[in-house]
């Protein structure tokens, strides 16, 4: 075999690809399910936390700040392993899927809260004053005046962070979640060939490149010139 043929055989072996494509297809479904769930629950958690934080109740805010710092600092893999192998010792058994979902939700929630909070702080004080001077209450001002502006301003960093965290669904492979990478590594060890991993890489691109573009679209859609 020429070096080129060896390369093609190692990474693009047609026979292996055809054989394991259905399994990787199943993995794609799992990855997408997990990713969608993480994005929804993570951003919802971040939004909930920033609303709580806006009320500036000192003890509540202290808890939020600690939570956010801890989950931003911890590598998600550590949390996944800790929950997956630790919880059964206290008779709580979560599936690998649930553990990865929970971990990434907490991590995305922490980052999203921090990003939203920066947005809330960057809304001019005059906006609060104008709204309150017309008789709007604190909560009304927050929901109708402040958060719509804060969220808009935070779309670009939030999109980037969401993509970065959602990619971590691949960590599910270490706790037996049948997502793309898990299916591919299984196929790789059965076949002794790296082609399933190539397919996995392409599958991840097919999923996340559109997400990157969607993010860019959302950014332009929500961008508005400041007066």
């Amino acid at each position: 075999m020429t070096p080129w043929e060896r390369f093609v055989d190692a990474f693009f072996n047609r026979e292996v690809i055809v054989q394991y494509l259905p399994a990787i297809g199943k993995g794609v479904v799992v990855t997408i399910e997990l990713a969608v769930l993480v994005v929804i629950s993570g951003i919802a958690l971040g939004f909930l936390l920033v609303v709580l934080r806006a009320y500036r109740v000192a003890p509540v805010n202290a808890v939020i700040v600690v939570f956010v710092d801890v989950f931003r600092a911890l590598p998600p893999l550590v949390l996944i392993l800790l929950l997956y192998f630790g919880l059964p010792n206290i008779d709580v058994t979560l599936s690998g899927f649930a553990v990865v979902w929970l971990t990434l939700t907490l991590v995305l929630g922490a980052f999203a809260e921090e990003i939203f909070w920066a947005g809330v702080l960057s809304v001019e004080k005059g906006q609060w004053q104008a709204a309150r001077s017309t008789g709007l209450g604190f909560g009304q001002t927050l929901f109708y005046v402040i958060l719509p502006q804060a969220v808009r301003m935070t779309v670009p960093p939030l999109t980037n962070r969401t993509i970065a965290i959602t990619k971590n669904t691949a960590l599910g492979t270490v706790v037996g979640v049948g997502e793309i990478l898990n299916q591919a590594t299984t196929a790789q060890s059965f076949s002794g060939n790296a082609s399933p991993l190539t397919v996995a890489a392409i599958a991840f691109l097919l999923i996340f490149v559109p997400v990157v573009y969607a993010g860019r679209w959302i950014e332009t859609r929500f961008a508005w010139r400041k007066g």
Binding site: Q129, A130, S133, T134, G135
Partner: protein
């Protein structure tokens, strides 16, 4: 007021001993930021349909005084009564009382994510409880009053500074306040846009709105104000008709200030 008998009564007959119903009554108001005393006992009353104009050097406490009137700032001591209700009372229903006090800011503070019309309807819907249709009608009427009925669907960033400020006035006006506070409404405007805003204010004055204005537009004060108040270092130095304050000021501090701002 002048005490002459006019053919049209300017307000309903008032209680004996009170020359005119005070819409805004400020008594012995004190306010400090930490150790810095900003207001040192202010007494001021604004009667129905009166335009009271506050002048004074920066840092004299003018803006703080206005902000105390709807409790955007918390005074340390003293009372403010708006339309018979004490807004400085600890249990005052601020959200309700603030509807009676319109406020116009130096920096407009329009909501940038909402159209001109939505800027006006927000409080009408959420605070005054108007239906969508009612709020829309009131908003269009208010925008028409400030000469911007054709801009109702524009976003603030599509409007000039003068137009933004007029939308901000419409936003306050739509709630039918008993008194309007103006905090340097033309200071952030290009000179050629100042006139539009002052015209709207003049029009409001003629329509019978009670107004308390902090501004440096002395010529406007000369023409439109009933009373001019000169403030310096947290106290009211003197107060009187525009003619008296601008042409015959009694205090040296007033003369110094007017000398500096005269063109």
């Amino acid at each position: 007021m002048d005490g002459s008998v006019s053919s049209v009564p300017r307000s309903l007959p008032s209680d004996a001993g009170r020359p005119a119903e005070a819409v805004l009554q400020i008594s012995d108001l004190h306010m400090a930021f930490g150790d810095l005393e900003v207001l040192k006992g202010i007494d001021l009353s604004v009667a129905e349909q009166e335009l009271v104009f506050i002048i004074g050097p920066s840092g004299s406490g003018k803006s703080t005084l206005l902000r105390c009137c709807n409790r955007l700032e918390e005074p340390n001591k003293g009372t403010i009564i708006v339309d018979g209700e004490e807004i400085t009372a600890p249990k005052a229903n601020l959200n309700k009382l603030r509807q009676r006090i319109g406020m116009v800011f130096q920096s407009f503070n329009l909501y940038p994510h909402l159209t001109a019309q939505a800027n006006v309807t927000l409080a009408l819907r959420k605070v005054a409880g108007k239906s969508r249709i009612e709020a829309r009608e009131i908003a269009l009427a208010a925008l028409d009053r400030v000469g911007l009925s054709d801009k109702s669907d524009s976003y603030p960033n599509e409007l000039s500074g003068g137009q933004q400020q007029r939308v901000a006035i419409a936003r306050s006006l739509a709630l039918q306040p008993r008194v309007m506070l103006f905090d340097e409404p033309t200071s952030a405007l290009d000179p050629e846009l100042v006139g539009d805003v002052l015209n709207v204010m003049q029009d409001m004055k003629e329509g019978g709105m009670t107004m308390l204005v902090v501004s440096h537009e002395m010529r406007f004060a000369m023409n439109a104000a009933d009373q001019v108040v000169f403030m310096d270092r947290g106290v009211i130095v003197e107060q009187g008709t525009p003619d008296r304050i601008f042409k015959h000021p009694e205090h040296q501090r007033t003369r110094d200030f007017l000398g500096k701002v005269a063109h």
